[in-house]
Amino acid sequence: MIMATLHLFMALTLSPLLLGIINRTKALFAGRTGQPLLQLYYDLAKLLRKGAVYSRTTTWVFRAGPVIGLASVLMASALVPFGGRPSLLSFPGDFLVLACLLGLARFFTILAALDTGSSFEGMGASREAAFSALAEPALLLSLAAVALRSGRLSLSSMLVSPLAWGHLAPALWLVAAAVFVVLLAENARVPVDDPATHLELTMIHEVMVLDHSGPDLAFILYGAALKLWILGAVWVGIVAPFGGMNPWTGTLFALAAILGLAVFIGVIESLMARLRLSRIPPLLVGAGVCALLALLVARP
């Protein structure tokens, strides 16, 4: 219980650091010094102090979008176990609730984007909807494979103790690859979306939040950082569950793992270019089929 609260606190405070690490890694690869590691904290503080500007064409949906998005992501972060200990909230079937909460956040972001009545946001919203529709089955199938292997239905039991994959090791790698692709897709990373692009025709996530400002933008940025932490924790839990050891050691190892994951994402962003938009659906469906294959292999 105490550990779970500590983990939640860590998620809430340390998630913006992940984005800082990614940006720093990319800068190092490019030969620059780059932004300070704590840049996102400064940005959030600055945005919270500012006032928000709302367009006359928007309705309550536009104001509600960021708030509901942040609320659902906060809820979801209470569901994910970390460092080999169960999470604050856990019950059978909570992985479905996780997917639904993330979906809810995404849904309200899309609605807020459509609410502005601008064609650019609409374009981003449609792309986001299409790609998430393809990424969600991948996530659910991967979690189903892990559930099948572990025999439990709660995230806190699936991702906690090391599973004896044994001769089914290929299934583990497939699941890890699929969840990693979903992670990249959900968090708008290269090769699915370039977070640094300024060309509206190539944006997906960026363009949806063009019109938000002030605290709303702060909520959105913070929610994105939390989502990265959540999916990262899920990935670390699948690949290297640290259950069965001293909780403090487990927490430390998991923290190191998630920071290492951030570095890895930074490396991938530096080495790869963004895929053409028409090649992203095959990538996502491919991840989904890999997850399906893992599910079929992991049948007892």
Binding site: L134, A169, L283, G286, V289, L292, L293, L296
Partner: protein, 218 residues
């Protein structure tokens, strides 16, 4: 240990098939076929009961060389002559092909679980993997436009049948394998020559435009 190796190899084979379904670069497809040939050779060594190791090694080496080196070389030569880089606009789009592949995978695994397989292979994944490869081969032949993709589909079909063969038959058929390899070699050779002629004759290698011969009067 061996079981894990076999499973890993079959999973890799299935992944190469998925890549074949989803990618539109013809050079990449040819490289996937080469990799498949190599994997099949290694798998052949693992799956055969060690009755005659020399025979098995020779066979596996022969098939690896033929499928991993010779065929891709022939096909890339044909590709270069045809000046084509990508498969544009197939009959069934790439995303839909991948979804169809996923469905076929599920069907293959359920079929494999239901059939009374001859002996305990240990791994329950080999036979469904072979069925899946056969499906992918057919699908590629039917849904792609370029003649080269159809030849690749034929090669995948033959690979799937070969995998079926080495999964089901453990104790001998040297001549069958040799005959299969020889025939596939000559087939690919002749098909490569045909592709060259098609390119020269028509200026493209899209077979859906080979439609002059038909029965309906215009």
């Amino acid at each position: 240990m061996i079981l894990q190796a076999i499973d890993t190899l079959v999973v890799l084979l299935i992944l190469t098939n998925l890549l074949l379904l989803g990618t539109n670069r013809l050079n990449g497809c040819i490289r996937m076929i080469a990799f498949q040939g190599f994997l099949l050779g290694v798998l052949a060594i693992f799956l055969q009961t060690p009755g005659n190791p020399v025979h098995i090694f020779l066979l596996a080496a022969g098939s690896m060389i033929l499928k991993g080196v010779v065929f891709p070389w022939l096909l890339s030569r044909a590709l270069r002559e045809a000046h084509v880089r990508r498969e544009v606009d197939p009959f069934v789009g790439f995303t839909l092909s991948l979804i169809a592949g996923g469905a076929a995978l599920a069907v293959a695994v359920s079929l494999g679980a239901r059939l009374p397989l001859p002996e305990a292979l240990g791994s329950t994944l080999v036979f469904p993997g072979a069925l899946f490869m056969i499906f992918v081969g057919f699908f590629l032949i039917v849904s792609r436009r370029t003649a080269l993709s159809q030849v690749l589909g034929y090669l995948v079909l033959e690979n799937g049948i070969y995998l079926c063969g080495i999964a089901l038959i453990h104790d001998e058929p040297v001549l069958i394998e040799m005959g299969v390899l020889l025939d596939v070699f000559v087939a690919v050779f002749i098909m490569g020559i045909m592709i060259f002629h098609i390119q020269r004759e028509f200026d493209h290698i899209e077979t859906d435009q080979l439609a002059t011969l038909k029965d309906v009067e215009p």
